[in-house]
Amino acid sequence: MSDNNLSFVRTEMLPEQAPPLTASGPLKWLKENLFDGVFNSILTIVALYFVWQIVTGAFPWFWNGVWTTSSLAECREVLNGATGGCFSVLTERWNQLMFGFKYPVTEYWRPTIAFLLLFVAAAPVLFFKLPRKLLIFTAVYPFIAFWLIWGGTILVPIMIAVGFVAGYMVFTRLEAQSFAMGLGGAVIAAVLIWSLQGYLTRPLSGVLALDPVPSRDMGGFMLNFILGVVCVSLSLPLGIVLALGRQSSMPIIKWICVVFIEFIRGVPLITLLFVANVVLAYFLPPGTNFDLILRVIIMITMFSSAYIAEVIRGGLAALPKGQYEAADSLGLDYAQSMRLIILPQALKISIPGIVNVAVGLFKDTTLVSVISMFDLVGMIRGPILASTAWNGVYWELWGAAILLFFPICYGISQYSQWLERQLATGHR
């Protein structure tokens, strides 16, 4: 062994050592995210305590829940003093919560099918990548849904659809001359067919007829859904017209739209529902008596169309001016430039805003319970909580109401955020 071999410099690498316990893995995560400094640690502990309280409070309530009794008294007997929810109110009154207390029990399958078909109809509108041919079903859906929910002969919705088709055909014929003329002709053709359809459908009222259900028998969550879907779809075209009117250079038309929009946006929905409930009848020809649900649909549609108009106006204003000028320089007239150049882009920008209005509107449909209609909230406050069997079951019922509304509204708003990311084609 010679001295030459002695070397004081290490020749081989040391193996890598594992990082300290607190600088890796879950401990690092905990340190960085939960206990980063005194203030954060206090916050974490408070939050943990809060979560613990909720979990320990809610867990036995769910775990001991009773699902099969027919009244609160029985449920309390079963529970025998233990903490637990009386979820049997949900199982026993489920149909009432969904369909109201008047819709014929044997016909529940009809709104259910209409509800399921709604997803098929909405899918091509919501997701652009689906085949465009599905839009045909979307166009047919309102008539199917009307037939399923309200019943009666299938000829009525068919004739209404025929009216639309006839209007469209007249429009395509006359459009070459002028847009206004085409529109006028289309309206005349459609109204003509709608006013004549009674002569056909009345004698043939048995053709493929479902049991007719009057709209005052609608209730429960179904009513919220009907109001939400119908009013949003009706208010969209109205909102576009109002937004265009507000942007218009013609002062009279502009001011009509401005006054309408600002008036509607300035008053609470409840006052408009009061109008539907007690005032609207005064303004209709003596003897006409159309039912409350229709009046409410009219007022809610006006309400949401004002909000949608403001969203679309934002979209119109966000378009660069060059788009308008380019359309003009191509020699397009107003209707053409709007239909082919401006609106497709403006609507695309405003979709997230429109979706937000739709969510708000769907939530606001619960307000009809204030004018004694029996939607979900109306059913809970009225027939169910007032019944002797279930007087006092608050948590379970309101919890169910939250669980019904939350997934839908949350889902739609998540969709709108997803869409916003999809549509963000700007240069970032």
């Binding site: 008053v267 609470p268 929905l269 006052t271 303004f283 003596p286 909230v377 509304f405 939350f406």
Partner: protein, 409 residues
């Protein structure tokens, strides 16, 4: 003599009303105006017909008649013999009370939640997101009804405060939280001349004076800072300006407290806030706070990181960066949606009718409407009230927006 190159001079022809873009807009506007007039006269004609058939007329005389119903929460004198007009005023004040309280609470909660949502603390961050999403996505009416139900069910009834071994007790013997509402101590002025509203007017006058005094102090401090570069320490002067006159006034006017006490089956004395008021205010605040939190978060995120870094490179300390650089810019983004949330609170306060709080929708649009049957008049008045509120709030917002608008050159 005309040259050959001159354009042909056309007279006005009727077809130009449809085909010439210069005149077509007049045609359209004329048609729109005609349609509007036709629609209104049709509705008006129907109205006249219906009113005649029902033997009614449009008249606001009912506002002067005695209302004949009681209002259990009121800010001004009111008895069942007072007029419907007085009842509406009571309702309007109740609406404003709920709206202002809820706006204040919602802002406080919303700002805290919005800042906490940006926290690096994972748990707090997630908890706040859950709060925001749950409250935003469930109708406010359901929240109002839930909170009302919980309130009545959880808090003890006044009778449970009775006896030596009472199930419930008052907080510090000053506050009583019951299912019927909250009972709080009420300040009263015992000096003879300051009794009633005079004392309160004095207090409000002093507060206004203190406000201007404090502003003068801070202006002077800024002037000194501009001149010398050193900012004098002002916090104790400011504190003194705010509190010394107030304390002096309270001593002079003989401030004492009217403390609620259990008499029989209910509490007497003090300030009584009904359960419907508390539930409505609380529900509106936490519902709207969820929206405000999102606005606050978006406003702070909208300030680019470069701003913070630039401020840091100038040598500002973190809290100065927040107050001098980030906040003034974030507020420009936050305040417009915030004000429209205030507008929403005011409009949503009309849901008071669901829990029986007597706001203007409950008095004018509820009982007065039912008693007199004057549907058109009452609903019109109701809409006019909300419209005035909304329009004035948006006017304020426009003024603000113009004042903070980026000055582009």
């Amino acid at each position: 003599m005309t040259a050959l190159t001159d354009p042909p001079k056309e007279g006005f022809r009727l077809s130009m009303l449809l085909n010439d873009t210069r005149y077509r807009s007049y045609t359209f506007q004329f048609i729109a105006l005609l349609a509007l007039i036709a629609a209104f006269s049709y509705l008006g004609y129907n109205l006249v017909q219906n009113l005649a058939a029902a033997g009614l007329n449009i008249s606001y005389k009912f506002l002067g008649e005695p209302a004949g119903y009681d209002i259990n929460q009121r800010l001004i004198e009111y008895t069942s013999q007072s007029s419907h007009w007085r009842a509406s005023i009571v309702g309007i004040l109740n609406t404003l009370l709920v709206a202002v309280t809820a706006c204040f609470l919602a802002t406080v909660i919303g700002v805290i939640v919005g800042v906490l949502r940006l926290s690096k603390n994972w748990l707090v961050n997630k908890l706040m997101s859950v709060y925001v999403e749950i409250f935003r996505n469930v109708p406010v009416l359901i929240w109002i009804l839930i909170i009302m139900a919980v309130f009545v069910a959880i808090l003890p009834q006044p009778r449970e405060f009775r006896g030596d071994n009472a199930e419930a007790s008052m907080l510090f013997d000053l506050f009583a939280f019951t299912g019927r509402g909250f009972y709080l101590p009420k300040p009263i002025f015992t000096a003879g001349w300051a009794a009633g509203s005079t004392g309160w007017l004095v207090i409000i006058g002093l507060l206004i004076a203190s406000f201007f005094g404090a502003r003068a102090v801070s202006k002077r401090a800024s002037a000194i800072q501009e001149a010398t570069g050193d900012r004098p320490v002002t916090w104790y002067t400011t504190l003194a300006i705010w509190f010394l006159p107030l304390i002096a006034a309270c001593i002079v006017m003989g401030l004492s407290w009217d403390i609620p006490a259990l008499k029989g089956f209910n509490f007497k004395g003090g300030i009584y806030a009904r359960n419907s008021f508390i539930a409505l205010t609380f529900a509106l605040s936490i519902y709207t706070a969820a929206f405000i939190a999102e606005n606050v978060r978006a406003g702070i995120l909208a300030i680019s990181k470069g701003q913070t870094e630039a401020a840091a490179s100038l040598g500002l300390r973190p809290n100065r960066i927040m107050s001098l650089v980030v906040l003034p810019q974030a507020l420009r983004v936050i305040i417009p949606p915030l004000i429209s949330q205030y507008l929403n609170i005011t409009k949503n306060s009309s849901l008071a009718i669901a829990v029986g709080y007597m706001d203007v929708t409950g008095t004018l649009g509820g009982i007065t409407l039912n008693q007199t049957g004057r549907a058109i008049e009452t609903v019109l008045l109701l809409m006019a009230f909300y419209l005035v509120i909304s329009l004035s709030i948006s006017a304020v917002m426009n003024v603000y927006n113009n004042s903070v608008k980026l000055k582009e050159r």
